[in-house]
Point group: none
Chain length 200, copies 4
């Protein structure tokens, strides 16, 4: 039995290592420039080996997608301990942006990249997406109960806040803010987060 488990574990480790390499390559060179050969080179295995752990390139892509959501979910949870609903909401937005900046390729994969039609069925994984969206709504609802967001529809507020942070993240990740110097961009982003918090 121990053998079985060790094999299991080794299998998992290999998958992890492949996924890590892929993610790095996605980040360094962009999705379309990642080839199976490059991934194999990075982990110093042969190309064929990749196919022992993943059905095809799409599965790697998809697995990363899932891992992205898991990571994302954790990031969100990490601010849920904050008591004050408004503070929590602010932290929520910051965490969102931070995730996007730290893992731009995850973010890209999860919220920007065109999802191949054939993959879309598997999107039970949006479950994971929605789970996170539920947290946002929970936070807003609690802020409402604390007297904020007067006269605003919950769904509208959630949608608005999500759009807002996603706008910032996606403009940045897809290079539409390249002309803004790094320093100043930081200022703009925190300015924007503060600005939006006036809505609460």
């Amino acid at each position: 039995m121990g053998i079985k488990e060790r094999k299991e574990r080794q299998k998992t480790e290999m998958r992890e290592s492949i996924l890590d390499a892929s993610l790095k390559l996605f980040t360094e060179e962009g999705y379309e420039n990642v080839t199976m050969r490059k991934i194999a080179d990075k982990i110093e295995y042969s190309v064929g080996t990749l196919y022992l752990y993943f059905k095809d390139k799409g599965e790697i892509f998809f697995e990363l997608h899932s891992r992205g959501f898991a990571e994302f979910y954790n990031k969100q949870l990490s601010i849920q301990h904050i008591k004050d609903p408004i503070e929590r909401l602010k932290a929520h937005g910051e965490a969102y942006i931070r995730f996007a900046m730290e893992f731009p390729e995850y973010y890209d994969l999860m919220f920007i990249s065109r999802v191949p039609a054939k993959e879309i069925e598997k999107f039970e994984h949006w479950e994971e997406g929605e789970r996170t969206y539920e947290i946002l709504k929970l936070n807003i609802r609690q802020a409402m109960e604390a007297g904020y967001f007067k006269g605003v529809d919950l769904e509208v507020a959630a949608f608005s806040l999500w759009s807002f942070v996603h706008g910032i993240a996606s403009l940045s990740i897809r290079g539409r803010l390249k002309m803004i110097p790094e320093q100043y961009l930081q200022f703009l982003i925190s300015g924007a987060l503060q600005f939006i918090s006036k809505l609460y």
Copy 2:
């Protein structure tokens, strides 16, 4: 003389038809998945024919990009006659979203799609992009002069508003709102635009 003109027109029509087909494909499949062959197939011509009208694949991409910005700029101008700065600003946001919904292909190309590194140099055409951004800032400045946006940095306000509408547009175009019924999405969007206008 009529002959010359007819030929001219036919040439133009052909270019249009190629651009149309390409735009659709770009949207459906993403830049990197659009091949010259697919474009040719779509218009039912041979591949070589494309090269009679465009120097290479990049030129098609680039032309579409330019047209998108031109169209976009016009849409923005069309609301500049509105006197009241706040009304104008609201109309501005609506026009932005409307453009994205009416021409999702253009919008995608202009603000979402990953631009191949080698094409990026030509992006003097971001001039066109910036020209539009200037309009936004002008509108905000005039609103400020009319007493709105108290204590807010102009650049921060502009960046925020842009991020906000871009967030809505890009989530929608890239299918992250598919689970929301069309009707309700309309409600959410106008709700969001109204919500944000509280910031003014």
Copy 3:
């Protein structure tokens, strides 16, 4: 009748103009870089027009070939008036080299380029080649009769002299002497011609 003749003449002029343009292009850009489009552009006619005057690209190539031989033959004749057989022979060699240097592309076409298998039948035009070779032999024979080339076979002598000048011409034309400075090459060539004349 005059009409017929004029048309004939115009047809000839057009062919000439195409051949001229082609030869220039061959020289400027090398055989493999000459396209029908470039020829057409050079004479400022459309591509299709070329096919009204020549069956295909090969025919242009072949016609140039023939013109080359004609030109070549003339060059040879031009020194036949020299009385002294040895002087004539020297002049012959010089004329040969001069032709090659003046019309490297003709020379290339005639004596170096790979002759497409399918064209080889048409090589009645080697008649023209052989006609020239006959002149060489005639000159040698007369030198022999004047007491030179003692104990040498006529055919061997002719073959040797031809090989010699062809060697110089072809090494130069195909760029195998690029490392030799122009000036010094001139010196070498005339030196070589003088050197060889010791054999007479």
Copy 4:
């Protein structure tokens, strides 16, 4: 261990087989008419396979070129043991011609074929060419020291002899002597070599 070696050997054999096929094609059809597809067809492998063994078409061409020069250099060395400088010089000429006749493909590639401009930079390998030329000059110099070639410039003599043998080789290889019966050609060539030796 034996496995490793066998694989090594197979890899080498494959390269050889590709080079062989390419060499034949270069000779039959000329550099510009040799396509990767034709090479692949000849060895009955897919096109992609070629790229497992060679970076690109140029590398195949270049490798052949180098091999040709290596072979050539060896052939030259093999007569350097001859003591008598005149005998050695004669043998040199014969060896040159023999190389050309035995390996017309190599000879063509090395001394006749039009070299694509972009490849020409790599021609540090003309080092190998020049190394051979130095041997020729050495032989002539020693003949001079032994009292031959009175009053002749060394460079001129070397250039002349090279031109002479190259003339013979290239006329033959490029089919300009097709009308001469094989037997008689042999006679002409040895006759010519003897004839030229009168110059010594």
